[in-house]
């Protein structure tokens, strides 16, 4: 027998899931399927209309997140409060009905485990290394932090997975993003994510699956890796992966839906084989020096439009590419910014700490550290903290973080997608500016006419207490 060719982590997971090949397209088996209320209703409808069965209800986990208001869900008597927006209520009801009809594991809006799908999956141990995991949501790449090949799919694909537990896919190219060195003070996984997206640009990862490697990634917690993998899609990549290691196993052990006992040991010994073999070739490698990453903030309407907080709003004329020049001019007009303006002079009206990018316990700790003993600036119209899940919320409360936020003037909300996208009551009014820990600063993303600056939780906290974009290092050092 000849020695096996060296393979990348991506190739190993891919090879283990090929059910059949049809020309250059593979039928790939899907191990885990997360669903939420926005992209599943039409898929269940399609299934019903075609008289098809749900092949593996046991491999699905459903949780509502996008539409849920983040205000109290129960009244003083413990009765469920109604949802005002009839369209939201209808989507949420449809999820409840469909999961009951098809017998799918469902975390209800008022369950203590409810939260954003991409926070809940890892937290429940539903997301596991070496699995293929899909969800009708583009930030599914997050789950790659645990060594799962995870990607967003559309509703037709959700229906395809429902009926067949497979997807038709073409192999992706591989892109290694190696982050070497050590992060400076005040520089967080979010800054790493923004730096990577800024370097690759919004379409630089197209057709690729990214594997994040290097000392910075190895030394990062699962929470941090989730933040980095979460933004893979902002560089156009279908998925982002980190090879599972002891950090991963320690995180997963004992989680409710993770394997237990002898099964756990068997799983870990398999997971240990999942890394890129020495000598395996990536199609492309990009190296980033951690010492060159500063706390970043976006100035435009694409997540790749970022500059160090110490920088200035770029001059559109400074871009050589005419398309980029036009886009920058459009972005500045939309955001009401002038070239050369210091980022730190930009005043914000709102602060949002939350979303599947930055709503886990470490994010809340980092933000609380900055606001502790400080007050939200009086010019801020609204500052909210939205924990990524009920379990994150409870842990933060056990640590007293809710008190820290409340005393400083932040609102402490129920878990959900909240201000990340304008689908629930948490919206930014037209013309107002928001310092946001989410992942997208697109036109109208936080509400029609809303202006978004993406940044880390610590930086968002700093903006809340000063009323403008602020270098968090000046508050903490």
């Amino acid at each position: 027998m000849t020695a096996a060719l060296p393979r990348t982590l991506y190739q190993k997971i891919w090879d283990a899931h090929v059910v059949a090949m049809r020309d250059d397209t593979a039928l790939i088996y899907i191990d885990r399927h997360l669903i939420h209320e926005v992209t599943s209703a039409q898929a269940f409808d399609g299934l019903r209309a075609a008289g098809r069965q749900l092949r593996r209800p046991d491999l699905i986990l459903a949780v509502p997140d996008h539409n849920l208001p983040t205000t109290a869900r129960l009244d003083a008597q413990g009765q469920r409060l109604p949802i005002d927006d009839p369209a939201s209520a209808e989507q949420l009801d449809a999820l409840t009905r469909n999961t009951a009809e098809f017998q799918v594991d469902f975390i209800d809006a008022v369950a203590p485990e409810q939260g954003i799908v991409h926070v809940v999956g890892p937290e429940q141990g539903f997301t596991l290394p070496s699995t293929t995991l899909v969800c009708g949501d583009s930030h599914t790449a997050s789950h790659g932090a645990l060594g799962a090949l995870a990607f967003g799919i559309g509703t037709s694909e959700v229906e395809h997975v429902f009926a067949t537990q497979t997807l038709l896919l073409k192999p992706s190219r591989t892109l290694e993003v190696r982050v070497e060195g050590v992060l400076g003070p005040g520089v967080t996984p979010k800054d790493v994510a923004l730096a990577i997206v800024g370097k690759l640009k919004a379409s630089g990862g197209q057709g690729h699956v990214i594997e994040y490697t290097g000392r910075v990634i190895r030394e990062m917690s699962i929470e941090g890796r989730l933040t980095v993998c979460n933004m893979s899609i902002e560089a156009g990549a279908r998925a982002g992966l980190v090879a599972p290691d002891d950090v991963t196993f320690a995180y997963l052990k004992g989680r409710p839906r993770a394997p237990k006992g002898a099964m756990w040991d068997q799983a870990v010994s398999y997971w240990r084989t999942l890394n890129t073999d020495p000598g395996a070739a990536y199609d492309k490698t990009v190296v980033i020096d951690a010492s060159e990453i500063a706390p970043l903030v976006t100035w435009g309407i694409s997540p790749d439009d970022s500059v160090p907080i110490t920088g200035v709003v770029p001059d559109p004329d400074s871009f050589a590419d005419p398309a980029r020049r036009d886009a920058a001019a459009k972005a500045l007009a939309y955001l009401g910014l002038t070239p050369g303006m210091r980022m730190q002079d930009i005043e914000v009206d709102n602060v949002f700490i939350g979303s599947c990018t930055n709503s886990r316990i470490e994010d809340l700790r980092a933000a609380a550290e900055v606001v502790r003993g400080r007050k939200v600036a009086p010019s801020i119209r609204q500052a909210i903290v939205v924990p990524g899940s009920g379990l994150v919320k409870r842990q933060a409360e056990d640590e007293g973080l809710d008190g820290v936020f409340r005393e400083s003037g932040f609102e402490w909300r129920e878990p959900g997608c909240s201000m990340c996208l304008a689908m629930n009551p948490d919206k930014i009014p037209a013309g107002e500016r928001c310092a946001s820990t989410s992942n997208r600063n697109f036109v109208g993303r936080q509400g029609p006419g809303s202006r978004t600056h993406l940044l880390s939780p610590a930086m968002a906290a700093a903006a809340a207490v000063t009323g403008k974009l602020t270098d968090v290092r000046e508050l903490t050092s």
């Binding site: 059910v19 009708g136 197209q206």
Partner: protein, 199 residues
């Protein structure tokens, strides 16, 4: 799914790069639980501009849309494909597409065609004064003045689009292979099956 052979008519000369799915259909339209009626919400932000091409009667009902690079980037919402289909667009021609959008488009029977920028520029010019004709079997786009752009196409997608084949039905024909794979996983990675884990 409707079979596609030849698509002929006016084309919206959009031309822009990085048209994200938020721009195609904004979040407020994501709350529907059916696919119909999404066209009304398509390109809502651009439509606020009174001179937009989508409300220009000259292009009303155009079955083709021409755009720049990275069309359909951003959120994975399939509503973008439904909105485009519901507007009556059957083909989008662009320099490149986001992976998720082109997948969604295909699954809904929308033809996506990639052409280099120079050809896109030529088609944009032609689309402003006349019709375009797409011939899927021949893999060509022809302008009224007779300019022809040839495009590449995945043979499987082409076959499905021409025959109006539904993907799920095709995959269900592979039932044996899927079941075999499941038995193999149960054997080698028993922890993956929650049925077994629960037992």
């Amino acid at each position: 799914m409707k079979a596609i052979n030849r698509i002929e008519g006016r084309a919206y000369p959009l031309g822009l790069a990085n048209v994200d799915t938020d721009a195609i259909i904004s979040a407020e339209y994501l709350k529907k639980v059916t696919r119909k009626g999404m066209g009304e919400g398509a390109f809502a932000t651009m439509r606020r501009n009174p001179d937009n091409i989508f409300d220009n009667p000259e292009y009303a009902g155009a079955p083709i849309l021409v755009a720049g690079e990275n069309f359909g980037c951003g959120s994975s919402r399939e509503h973008a494909a439904w909105a485009i289909l519901d507007m009556g667009v059957q083909a989008v021609i662009a320099v490149s597409f986001s992976d998720i959008f082109s997948g969604n488009a295909f699954k809904n029977g929308i033809l996506t065609i990639e052409l280099p920028q120079a050809q896109i520029d030529m088609l944009l010019d032609a689309a402003r004064d006349g019709q375009l004709a797409i011939d899927l079997p021949d893999q060509t786009v022809t302008t009224e003045s007779g300019n022809v752009a040839e495009f590449g196409m995945d043979p499987f997608r082409k076959h499905c689009l021409i025959n109006g084949l539904d993907e799920i039905g095709l995959t269900l024909q592979m039932e044996d292979a899927i079941s075999r794979h499941e038995r193999e996983i149960d054997e080698r990675m028993p922890w993956l099956s929650s049925r077994r884990d629960a037992a």
